[in-house]
Symmetry: C2
Subunit: 148 residues, 2 copies
């Protein structure tokens, strides 16, 4: 299958999402021409703000292969990933993303992806507590640590 054909699977999944009363986003994850996950947005049915199509697909693909490492996989998504989803892909070691709609299309139907890319909407407070760094170092010096 071509990249466009996989992308169209993600778009079909976005249509299914709308039919089921969820938001219009679908995602597909493919590795070595094997489809690991086809998922859509589940924020409303699961009351989970992190359950975007891409995050849901990453979780499903990782469950499928039994690993948090999706190196070599490609993410196809009906809409440009928001910064949460883009960075979920980075943590999963996904290096290639194909998308159809973009953040401007999402903006036109009321989603805040573009706002979150462009504006600081959270107040960040840095309270230095030395014990917190000590705990990190304790982990770092552990022989059984599992870095990722």
């Amino acid at each position: 299958m071509t990249h466009e054909e996989y992308l169209r699977l993600a778009i079909e999944e976005s249509a299914r999402s709308v039919e089921e009363g969820s938001s219009p986003f679908g995602a597909v994850i493919v590795r070595n021409e094997e489809i690991l996950a086809v998922e859509h947005n589940l924020v409303v049915p699961c009351q989970d703000p992190t359950a975007h199509a891409e995050v849901t697909a990453i979780r499903a693909a990782c469950a499928e292969i039994g690993s948090y490492d999706l190196s070599g996989a490609i993410l196809y998504t009906s809409c440009e990933p928001c910064p949460m989803c883009l960075n979920a892909a980075k943590w999963a070691n996904i290096k290639e993303i194909y998308y159809a709609c973009d953040r401007d299309d999402a903006d036109k139907i009321g989603f805040r992806d573009k706002v979150f890319y462009e504006q600081d909407v959270v107040h960040m407070h840095h309270l230095k507590v030395s014990e917190a760094v000590d705990i990190m170092q304790k982990w770092y010096q552990s022989e059984t640590k599992k870095p990722y």
Copy 2:
């Protein structure tokens, strides 16, 4: 309790995470002086690259209140949120975050938070497919849609 006291709860949870063989990150979510969630990183035990402490806490807090909307809640986290977690907080309508370690501390023990904030490590491919926008518009015109 003070902000520092809630933050110390998150730090204690990061220590518990290390004791359990997971990564050194803990998070607490509080709303109206009620603790809604105390969670730590579950990436390795759950093989889920999205299961950072903050995402896990957001999911637990939402399950606790039965809503994806954590407006008015405060996130306390042992380490500055990575961009995935920061944006998960934005989608949950969290406006205040307190943290102890920062992205430089995380960098020193091998985590890529700082890299993901500063570098584009994913190749993005925009393939325009008009049907994808049509599906978004179909959702937008639906009387039963649930925006967030």
